[in-house]
Amino acid sequence: MDERQLRNVIEAALLAAGHPLSLDKLMGIVAAVGEVPERAVVRKAVEALAEEYEGRGIEVKEVASGYRVQVKRSMTDLLQPLWEERAPRYTRALLETLALVAYRQPITRAEIEEVRGVSVSTNIVRTLMERGWIRVVGYREVPGRPSMLGTTREFLDYFGLSKLEDLPPLSAIRDDDPEAGPQSDLVDALRALDTHDEDPPNHGATDDGPDEDDPLRNPPAQEA
């Protein structure tokens, strides 16, 4: 099988499957023709296919469970009329819960509640499980043996990630040296502030820097 044929088989397989195919699976398919290909050769063919798709409306995407061919983001608005149903939307409560499971796994429900300051509804956990995005990965050996939650490969696939590290980086705690125990510094700073608590908090120009990476992306205050 020459390089072109190999690429054709891989393309057909990816388009036929409709779900991601791992390199192993692709190798298995190619091997069924009689030749056992080298891993590197198959990987190269996938890459060649990805290159071939450049400038097209589709792309080869590597996600957690393998490769898939997908319609590019830039195309989907155009193709909206094709889909009868609108994509599901997710509430902030669900996304925050998901974020905590993703970044802090393994995590118990109590720990999620501690960070969010509100109880986690059973519905949210159930929805996330039914979507196959989270699952019980173990139990914490404390009274009650609460289950610990973690994310799944389906979660990564769905959000177009190939591994957990591909998640957007968790914003650093601002103004803090991550090395130093932030707590004591903070307390000191707070004590210094205690005296002028009621001062107008509008810091004007000095606020510009931190605002750049303000997690809420608030535009800076307009000076009236």
């Binding site: 036929a16 177009g160 601002r174 307390v187 810091h203």
Partner: protein
Amino acid sequence: MAGQPEQTGKPHLTLVPVVPPPLSDEAGSIAQAEMPFAIVEGEPITQLPRDLYIPPHALEVFLEAFEGPLDLLLYLIRRQNIDILDIPIAEISRQYVEYIELMKEMQFELAGEYLVMAATLAEIKSRLLLPRPTDADEDEEDPRAALVRRLREYERYKKAAEDIDGLDRLERDVAVAQAEVTERKVVTKLPNVTLRALLTAFREALDRSSMFEHHHIQQEPLSVRERMSQVLLRLSGKRYMDFSELLDPAEGRVGITVTFLALLELLKEAVIDVVQAEEFGPIHLRAAQPSAGEASMPDTSGHDNG
């Protein structure tokens, strides 16, 4: 809450990006008509007056727009463009408590977490008013520091949730490309079973079964059991079969004995009938019949035992 409107169960509420009003504006006429804080039943709520009055019918949606006390507190802080490290506790607590009081007055069911937060804020405020003893307990975390830590921790994950929401995801942003496959044969790989698994299962069934002691399962050797099945199959569909047809001399004495034992057992279980028209006449066998005739035998899927 920047960005997309949220599903709050109140579809007519649309939160818009929060632009904090300048706190120092004493005039009370904040010009932000193009930046409504919320839209309630189509009407933009543009004013958050200094007395924090919120139209009563907007209050509940207002509360629902927040993911809890931390979120509300963050909003109040962000609205005033305050650095999280410089929270003017007194002012923020006052605003927070006012909201809570208002909601209590409106008799909205308020999650307990909001009240806990109000208490926390009150505690911090009172501490700030009291002179700090010089030998303050070092072990005890400054409640304000604890609050700041929680707020920042929450803010990180709130941001992370937005980031995740911003990822290109299936269904909404990208679609899996798929080509039609004609003549696909879906083959289901059947599970494997080992003999060991089978035996273990059998033993467990027998161990559970009190029958094993009371009845004599397994009285007949398997060869007889197997032959019983075979004889039944041969009798199926035929009206009668000659006894001698069932006995194959080629099988030798063991074979004949096994068949005979099988026949006796089948007879005992009344699943076959034996007919002998006259003394020393031919013995005929058939599968036991229901009251009226015909030995109906459904298709046995074509597997032949022998």
